[in-house]
Amino acid sequence: MEIAAKLAILADAAKYDASCASSGGVQRDSSSGRGLGSNEGTGICHSYAPDGRCISLLKILLTNYCQYDCLYCVNRASSNVPRARFAIDEVVRLTLDFYRRNCIEGLFLSSGIIRSPDYTMEQLVEVARRLREEHDFRGYIHLKTIPDAAPDLLRRAGQYADRLSINIELPTQQGLAELAPQKDGAAIKRSMARLRVQIEAARGEARDASRAPTSIPGARPARAAAPAFSAAGQSTQMIVGADGADDAAILATSAQLYGAYRLKRVCYSAFSPIPDAASALPLQAPPLAREHRLYQADWLMRYYGFAADEIASPRTGGMLRLEVDPKLAWALAHPERFPVDLNRAPRELLLRVPGLGVKAVDRLLLARRVRRVRAEDLKRLHVPVAKVLPFVLAADHRPARSALPSPTAAPQQAALF
């Protein structure tokens, strides 16, 4: 098969994976005159697809043959899609060529499971090895690891890749058992645990190396570079809307994953119709609004100190409201916590005000050291003033009780199926 035809099939097969970010990792470039590429820590989105998602990496499968039969997956063994398989060098050449054209930051490589998890993982590692060792490639590499692959393969993968990820796929064990009978939720967690242990061990070594005492005072310590292991951490993806799990279950699982395995990101991917879909999944347009709210909720957990069950819990129906963002929803449900005084409240409270982001809050904190903050200052912070005002006190502003948006609007949620 021609390379273009393979690329068409194997890019098509990879497009349902939401992860794409290319940020983090070891800083490096090729200005020493060797190698190709650089990674300066901030991801670059080189293009955007008409679905609004960024293209920063060449995201492809090594092959879409797969002996697993996960019902939500276009590549499952029982689907009739056309199949293809790249030779290892084809992937290497494509990556280098697109990279030189400045179309991508690097490679995101995944694969259907062929022969065995170990065999598949070995192939993925070999692509990364050739890129790094034979072509001295310094761009970004993200490998999808195959759960249950041997610990040693995971270790080698981590040496070449900036980021490793293992998909949790579905928020509950039960969902996984129903829709992905060959996947073992416990094995996925064990792999994530192994990764966290190795990532932290490598960071620990790097820290110790940089602290190593030097014999000559003032001289630069001569030290071997500590091995970087998946320096940009690990991430995962969860498919939303393919099983019956509600938002509370999803966020609780995410919180656990962040806590247990120190994931950098959980990506939420609204389950979208796939060609040749399994009959067990009645299809409809993907719940994109729900996906969006989940991302916002996830953000609140990672940067605003919200606990998962403050945002969505079984007590309140288990679903995020679709018509308002989760922070506003929380504020409306907790009128007793407002208004918050812009001139006095601690950072944690300011962060809970709908419409105030981390940056705006930090600027407010600076500003109020030199003077009283007034309502008009909010305009200059580029925050949605009308949204913020009902929740705050300022030197010249006191919200009327009735100004709060009515919390009575019935919660609406996209029907699953």
């Binding site: 690329l7 497009k15 349902y16 090729s30 200005s31 190698g35 190709l36 590429g37 670059i44 989105c45 080189h46 293009s47 955007y48 697809a49 008409p50 679905d51 609004g52 998602r53 960024c54 293209i55 995201k59 043959y65 002996q67 063994a77 029982s78 689907s79 494509l94 060529d97 697109f98 030189r100 054209r101 400045n102 179309c103 060959q182 416990a186 064990r190 994530m192 645990a193 242990v197 656990q256 962040y258 806590g259 247990a260 395995y261 979208s272 119709p273 040749d276 879909a277 009959s279 299809l283 409809q284 347009a285 993907p286 994109l288 100190g305 998962a308 600027r363 600076l366 030199v370 003077r371």
Partner: protein
């Protein structure tokens, strides 16, 4: 008063002139900025020279301000010099300005800088090289790109491309300026025209193939896309020609997917059997495998794995802790976290070899509370310990230790079948119903929680208990 700078992006010139103007106390409103060869030369006649009047006010600007100037100067806004000079003037005369993050002039400057930074970022992303002149003579092809930045950023961006493509010969042509890298020197030249850029090649077709296929038609979101990739960049992005046709057929493609009935699978690929819970034949391996599946109490579902005991069969001592901690949960081995390390130190003092004793826990899964990103150990309830007890019983029966050591109250209760006040009963041999002897002592993590002043003493007492157990 008119001041002329050598070029539109002449930062050094601007700093020099601005310092002189400040020294001569030239008010911002009196200064007109222009650029050599620029079009703002209309009133070149009214040249007034100001004499310095007394010592200039000492001006120290925040370090970030210099960086701000760097970016603002690259903006195409003609008023940028005047704005920056006004800010400098005000920094010199209004002590509070540097502490006010909401000052309108400052915000304006920041906005310009932000626009320039964004433009720089977009140039990193949207420059597309095309290889030319692969003459087959072994010389590397030259990679050429045509690009139209919103601001005057070419020179500022060039080093980034140099770092990234140090080994490649490349050139970026823009209407303002061109930059070329031959592998050793970065050269800046005057602007070029689009006609000088090379045409598409076969490799670019592959890129278009990728772009076409990575798009998911069921998720069309053109507005989101345009926010990040505004139309002004489209003419120079080869893949942008695909946006309209892809968008046009998206609805039809996704409707087809939704309406298509599920087909009968051809099953050319053998489906792997589901990971069944095939138990190993017998003994401890079987017990440990079965434990992994246990969800009798709610702890099981939240932990990574059940942590099996570890050690030789028929040991002199079997140590029973409370439950795995964070590290034990991740590694699947007992006593490998901080408490485990403390225990090993105590072992060394008491003359116990870790490999010669058996280590296990009363409860097999890690119970915790999430506090932000941290899992905080939580003591298992009596009910949970009870639910888990049968694993310990069966393990004892299989391991056949000669005696038991209970580390902490949970372990003591599980082993003795009654509540135990550790402080009161520690350090003596107690008998179990089945005749096995149990020595109770603290859990090492209890030592870790003591105030530092009490730790040394408590450690000594702990070692004393262990010595007694080992005697």
């Amino acid at each position: 008063m008119r001041v002329q700078l050598a070029s539109e992006t002449d930062l050094d010139g601007f700093r020099r002139e601005a310092r002189a103007l400040l020294a001569s106390r030239a008010r911002p409103a009196q200064v007109e900025w222009s650029v050599e060869g620029g079009q703002e030369d209309l009133f070149a006649a009214d040249e007034t020279v100001m004499e310095p009047q007394g010592p200039a006010p000492a001006l120290r600007v925040p370090p970030a301000f210099v960086e701000l100037c760097q970016h603002v100067l690259l903006h195409r806004e003609p008023q940028r010099f005047a704005l920056l000079y006004r800010l400098l003037w005000r920094l010199a005369h209004e002590p509070n300005l540097r502490h006010d993050p909401l000052d309108p002039d400052m915000l304006q400057a920041r906005e310009f800088a932000q626009a320039v930074r964004r433009d720089i970022h977009k140039m990193h992303a949207f420059v597309r090289f095309r290889p030319v002149g692969d003459a087959g003579d072994g010389a590397q092809p030259l990679h050429v790109a045509w690009y139209e930045p919103a601001h005057r950023i070419v020179e500022a961006v060039a080093p980034w491309f140099q770092r990234r493509f140090a080994n490649m010969r490349w050139a970026i042509l823009t209407p303002d300026a061109c930059v070329e890298w031959d592998g050793s020197v970065l050269q800046l030249r005057p602007g070029a025209s689009r006609a000088e850029a090379p045409p598409p090649d076969a490799g670019e077709q592959l890129w278009l193939t990728y772009y076409r296929n990575i798009f998911n038609p069921a998720r069309l979101k053109l507005a989101t896309m345009q926010k990040e990739m505004p139309r002004r960049y489209w003419p120079n992005l080869p893949e942008a020609q695909l946006i309209a046709p892809l968008a046009a057929e998206a609805r039809e493609r996704s409707t087809r997917m939704i309406e298509q009935p599920a087909s009968t699978p051809l099953r050319r690929i053998p489906i792997a059997p589901a990971a069944t819970t095939m138990l190993p034949p017998e003994g401890l391996p079987r017990l440990n495998a079965a434990m992994q599946q246990c969800r009798t109490c709610p702890i099981g579902a939240l932990a990574t794995q059940a942590v099996a005991g570890e050690g030789p069969l028929a040991p002199r001592l079997m140590f029973v802790g409370e439950q795995p901690g964070d590290q034990e949960d991740l590694r699947g081995r007992p006593f490998v976290g901080p408490a485990g390390q403390l225990l090993e130190r105590a072992f060394a003092e008491a003359g116990i070899v870790r490999e010669e004793v058996y280590l296990t826990n009363a409860v097999r899964h890690f119970k915790y509370d999430l506090r932000g990103k941290h899992r905080i150990h939580k003591t298992p309830s009596q009910q949970e310990a009870l639910a888990c007890l049968h694993w310990l019983r069966e393990e004892i029966a299989l391991v056949r230790p000669r005696a038991l050591v209970a580390l902490g109250a949970t372990a003591a209760r599980s082993l003795l079948g009654r509540s135990v006040v550790v402080r009161a009963e520690r350090g003596t041999w107690l008998a179990r119903g089945d005749g096995l002897q149990v020595l109770v002592t603290l859990h090492p993590s209890a030592l870790l929680r003591l105030p530092v002043s009490q730790q040394a003493r408590a450690f000594e007492e702990f070692v004393t208990d262990l010595r007694r157990a080992a005697a």
